[in-house]
Symmetry: C2
Subunit: 109 residues, 2 copies
DNA sequence: AGGGTTAGTTACTTTTCGTAACCATAGGGT
DNA sequence: ACCCTATGGTTACGAAAAGTAACTAACCCT
C-alpha cells in the first residue's frame, strides 16, 4: 500500500536527513559562514558541504558570495527555509519537556 | 565549539533518524500492528523492526502483546510519543505550503 | 504431521557516513 | 616573481547503516 501524502513524504525526507535539523537551527539565528557552521556543529566539512548543496537545491538555503578579502560566503534561509521555524521550535519544546539529562549523558546501550 | 543544547541535539538525533517521522505519523492515527505498518510505509521489515525497538527504548512507542490466535502485537504512542504531534503537524503544514508536486515527481537529479 | 498466519531475523549487497589529508582561489608581503 | 596565509571547499578510503530477499519461531487448525 503506502498511501502517504507524497508531499509529506518528501518534506520528511528532506528534514529528517541527518544534520539538516541542526543546520536549520543554526541558520534560524541568522546568516552564517561555512567555517562558523563547521565550528558550531558536530559535523565535518564534507557533510556540511553536501547538506548545504542539498538545501540550496531544495530552495531552503541561499548562498551569498562577498568578494572581499578573504572571500566571504554566507548561507542564509529563504522564505521556504524560514517557514520551517515552527518545526524546529516544536522540537526544542519537546526536547525541553521530555528529554532528561540522563538520556543525553548515558552510554548508547 | 559546538555549543548546542544537548537535549535538543538528542531530540534531533531521534526524530531525524530515517523513517522515524513516517512511523510516528502512522501511529498518531492510532495503534497499529507490525504488518499494517509494513504495508503502509515504504520500509522493509528489517528496518521497521529496528526503528520500533529504538523508539521503544526511547520511551516513545509502547509494544502490546495480545495472546490470541494468531498472536497480535500492537504498537502505540506513549505520552512522550503523543507529545510529538505538533512537530509532525508542522511538517505537514510546511509540506502543504512549500512542496510542489513537481518536486515530488521529478527525477532525483 | 503438514500447512497457514503473524512477527519478526539472518545473510548479503549497495549506499551513505566519518575522518583526515589534500586542493583552489585570491590577496599581501618582500 | 615568489611564497605565505585565509577561506571554502574536495578527494580518498575504511566503517557504518540501509535495502532486499529468503528464512525462522510460535501457535493453532485440519
Amino acid at each position: 500500500m503506502n498511501d502517504l501524502c507524497p508531499r509529506f513524504e518528501k518534506a520528511m525526507e528532506i528534514i529528517s536527513k541527518r544534520w539538516v535539523g541542526l543546520i536549520l537551527f543554526e541558520l534560524l539565528n541568522g546568516a552564517k559562514r561555512f567555517s562558523e557552521m563547521e565550528a558550531g556543529l558536530p559535523i565535518s566539512g564534507r557533510l556540511l558541504s553536501d547538506r548545504l548543496k542539498l538545501l540550496e537545491k531544495e530552495g531552503i538555503v541561499k548562498r551569498n558570495i562577498y568578494s572581499e578579502f578573504p572571500v566571504r560566503i554566507e548561507y542564509s534561509l529563504s522564505e521556504k527555509g524560514k517557514a520551517l521555524e515552527p518545526v524546529i521550535k516544536d522540537i526544542q519544546d519537546w526536547a525541553h519537556d521530555w528529554i532528561t539529562m540522563q538520556e543525553v549523558t548515558e552510554p548508547k546501550a
